[in-house]
C-alpha cells in the first residue's frame, strides 16, 4: 500500500509539473501585452518599449518559463507586472477573503444538507422525502449568479439588511464577516442541494446493507439505527464530494465574487487576465491545481482507509 501511495504521489507530482507547462504555453499564446494595457491609448512607443524591458517581457519565453519554474520550487511565484509586488503576497491577501468565504459556504451547505438528507432518507417515499428531493432538484437547477442577483436585490437594495457588496478588510471584524454572508449563501445553495442528495442516497445504500439489517433485527428503532450505524458509514461519499466541492468553490466563486465585488482569488485572476498580468494568472492557476491535486490524493487515502476493498483490488 505504501508503494502504491508513493506511486500515486509521484504521478500527481508529475501532473503538477505538466500542468505548469500547459498553463505557461496557454498563457504565452494569449494575445495582448501588459505594458500597453497599462499605458493606454496615447502611450509613447519609446516609453512602452522601456517598460517592457523593465518588466522582463523581452526575454525569450522558454527562458521565462525556467526562471519561473525554478523560483516556483522555492515558493516564489514572481513579481506581478502591474502591481509590482510579489504574486505570493497578492494571492495571500486574496486567500484571506476566498478561504473564509469557501469555508463559510461549505459549512452552511453542510448545516443545510445533512439534516435534510437524513430526514429524506428516514421518510423515504413519504411526502417529506418527495418535497426535499424536489427542492434539491430546484436548487441544482438555479444558476448561482442569478441567485446572487436576487439576494442583492432583496436583502441589500430593498431591505438594506446587508451591504450590497465590497469587503472592508478583517480589521473591521464583524462587518467583514457580515460582508461574506450573502455571497456564502449564494454559493452554498447549489452545493447544499447536491450534498442533500448524496447524503440521502448514501444513507439509503447503507441502510440496505447487512450490518444495518442486523442492527434492526437486534430491535433498534429506525432513528437509533440511523444515528448509530448508518450515518457514520454514509458520510464517506459525502466527505468526498465535499472535498471536491471545496476546490471547486475556491476557484468557482469568480462570478459570485463579481456580483458582490469581493476581492477574492477569482476576481484577482479575472482582473489579471484582462490586464494581461500573466504571471499572476500563472501563479493562481498553479496554486489551484496544486490544491486540487492534494485534495484528490487525500480523498484517495481516505477511501483506502475506509474501504478495505479498494486497497486489495489495487494491489
Amino acid at each position: 500500500m505504501v508503494t502504491y501511495l508513493l506511486q500515486r504521489l509521484l504521478s500527481l507530482g508529475l501532473t503538477l509539473v505538466v500542468a505548469t507547462a500547459v498553463i505557461f504555453v496557454v498563457l504565452n499564446v494569449v494575445p495582448g501585452d501588459p505594458a500597453s494595457y497599462m499605458m493606454g491609448l496615447n502611450a509613447d512607443p519609446q516609453a512602452l518599449a522601456q517598460l517592457r524591458q523593465e518588466m522582463g517581457l523581452n526575454d525569450p519565453a522558454w527562458q521565462r518559463y525556467f526562471v519561473w519554474l525554478g523560483n516556483l520550487a522555492t515558493g516564489d511565484l514572481g513579481l506581478s507586472y502591474t502591481y509590482r509586488v510579489p504574486v505570493t503576497e497578492l494571492i495571500g491577501e486574496r486567500l484571506g477573503v476566498s478561504l473564509p468565504l469557501t469555508l463559510m459556504a461549505t459549512a452552511l451547505s453542510l448545516i443545510i444538507a445533512i439534516p435534510l438528507g437524513v430526514m429524506a432518507a428516514a421518510r423515504r417515499g413519504k411526502i417529506t422525502d418527495a418535497a426535499i428531493v424536489g427542492a434539491t432538484q430546484l436548487g441544482i437547477a438555479i444558476p448561482n449568479f442569478w441567485f446572487a442577483l436576487l439576494l442583492v436585490f432583496v436583502f441589500a437594495t430593498t431591505l438594506r439588511w446587508f451591504s450590497a457588496g465590497g469587503f472592508p478588510g478583517w480589521d473591521e471584524g464583524p462587518s467583514a464577516l457580515q460582508a461574506l454572508i450573502l455571497p456564502a449563501i449564494a454559493l452554498a445553495l447549489p452545493q447544499a442541494a447536491i450534498l442533500t442528495r448524496i447524503t440521502r442516497s448514501s444513507l439509503l445504500e447503507t441502510l440496505s446493507e447487512d450490518f444495518i439489517r442486523t442492527a434492526r433485527a437486534k430491535g433498534l428503532s429506525e432513528a437509533q439505527t440511523l444515528r448509530r450505524h448508518a450515518l457514520r458509514n454514509a458520510m464517506i461519499p459525502v466527505l468526498t464530494i465535499l472535498g471536491l466541492q471545496f476546490t471547486f468553490l475556491l476557484a468557482g466563486a469568480i462570478i459570485v465574487e463579481n456580483v458582490f465585488y469581493l476581492p477574492g482569488l477569482g476576481r484577482l485572476v479575472l482582473q489579471a487576465i484582462t490586464q494581461r498580468d500573466l504571471i499572476v494568472v500563472q501563479g493562481v492557476v498553479v496554486v489551484l491545481v496544486a490544491v486540487a491535486v492534494a485534495v484528490t490524493f487525500l480523498v484517495e487515502i481516505a477511501y483506502m482507509l475506509a474501504d478495505p476493498r479498494v486497497r486489495t483490488q489495487r494491489q
Binding site: S11, L12, L14, T15, V18, A19, V22, V26, L27, V29, V30, P31, R124, G125, Q137, L138, I140, A141, I142, P143, F145, W146, L149, L150, F153, T157, S201, L204, E205, S208, T247, F248, L250, A251, G252, I254, I255, N258, G266, V269, L270, I273, V281, V284, V285, L288, V289, A292, V293, T296
Partner: protein
C-alpha cells in the same frame, strides 16, 4: 412500458424538456417579433398582450429573445456534450482495453490533469486566447466533458472485460476494437445516455455562466446568460428582464435533471435512486 417505469421524474422531465425543445424548434420558423430588431422608442415596456415578456433596453421583444435563446443554449450545450462523448468514449474504451498498459496510464493521467484545472477559469482563458464566440464556448465546455465520459466509460468497461461473453469473444479471436464495439459499447450505452442527459444540464448552466461573463454566444444572437447580465442594471426598473431568462434556465436544467433521473430508473433499475 409498465406504469411502474413511468416515474413522475420521467414524466415531468419529459414535459419540461419538450416544452423547451418545442420553443427552440418554434424559434426556427416563427417568433412574434424579430429578436434582434432594435426599436429604441419601445424600450423597457412591461409585459403586455403585445409583448408577453415585455421588451428590453433596446426595445427588443423578450419573449422572442427567450425563444431564440433556447435554441442557442441547447445548441451549445448539446454540441459540447457531443464533443465529450465523441472523444471521451473511445478514449475510455481504449484505456479499458489496454488496462494497466501505458495508454491506459496516459489517458488516466490526462484525465487527472484536466480535472485538476479550475474549469471556469480555463474556459475564460480559452476564450481570451481564441476570442469570445459560441464555438469557443462549445470547445471550452466540451473539453471538460471529455474526461467525464472517458472515466465513466473506462470504469464501466473494465468490469465488462472480465465477463464470460467477452472472454469467449476474445478466445474466438475477435480483436480489441471489435469487442469494444460489439460487446462493451452496447452494454454501457444506457449509462452514457443517463450521464449525457446530466452533462447536458450542466452544459446549459455552463453556457449561461460563460455568456453571463460575456464569453459565450455573441450579439446580436440572444442568449439567456447574456440577457441576465444585461438585465442586471435594470432589475429595479424592469424585473421581467431578469425573471424570464432566469426561469428559462431553471426550467431547462430542472427538466433535464429530472429526465436523467427518470431515464436512470428506467434503463438501469439497479441504480434507482429511491431504492
Amino acid at each position: 412500458m409498465t406504469a411502474q417505469t413511468l416515474s413522475p421524474n420521467l414524466i415531468i422531465g419529459l414535459v419540461l424538456t419538450n416544452v423547451i425543445a418545442a420553443a427552440a424548434v418554434l424559434s426556427l420558423i416563427w417568433t412574434p417579433y424579430d429578436p434582434t430588431t432594435i426599436v429604441v422608442e419601445q424600450r423597457l415596456l412591461a409585459p403586455s398582450l403585445e409583448h408577453w415578456f415585455g421588451t428590453d433596453h433596446f426595445g427588443r421583444d423578450v419573449f422572442s429573445m427567450v425563444l431564440q435563446g433556447a435554441r442557442n443554449s441547447i445548441a451549445v450545450a448539446l454540441i459540447a456534450v457531443g464533443v465529450g462523448i465523441f472523444f471521451g468514449v473511445p478514449l475510455g474504451l481504449w484505456a479499458a482495453a489496454r488496462q494497466g498498459h501505458l495508454a491506459d496510464e496516459i489517458i488516466s493521467r490526462a484525465n487527472d490533469l484536466v480535472f485538476a484545472f479550475p474549469a471556469l477559469l480555463l474556459a475564460i482563458l480559452i476564450t481570451a486566447i481564441a476570442g469570445a464566440s459560441a464555438t469557443n464556448a462549445i470547445l471550452a465546455i466540451g473539453l471538460f466533458n471529455i474526461p467525464v465520459f472517458a472515466r465513466l466509460t473506462r470504469g464501466s468497461a473494465l468490469s465488462l472485460w472480465s465477463r464470460d461473453y467477452v472472454l469467449a469473444a476474445r478466445v474466438a479471436g475477435k480483436g480489441t476494437i471489435a469487442i469494444s464495439r460489439d460487446h462493451i459499447l452496447p452494454n454501457i450505452a444506457n449509462l452514457l445516455i443517463v450521464q449525457g442527459t446530466i452533462q447536458f444540464a450542466l452544459g446549459i448552466l455552463a453556457e449561461a455562466a460563460l455568456s453571463y461573463v460575456g464569453l459565450g454566444t455573441q450579439p446580436p444572437d440572444p442568449s439567456w446568460g447574456r440577457m441576465l447580465a444585461e438585465s442586471q442594471t435594470f432589475v429595479a426598473l424592469a424585473p421581467w428582464l431578469a425573471i424570464f431568462p432566469g426561469a428559462a434556465i431553471v426550467i431547462t436544467v430542472l427538466g433535464l435533471n429530472l429526465l436523467g433521473d427518470g431515464l436512470r430508473d428506467l434503463l438501469d433499475p439497479k441504480m434507482r435512486a429511491d431504492r
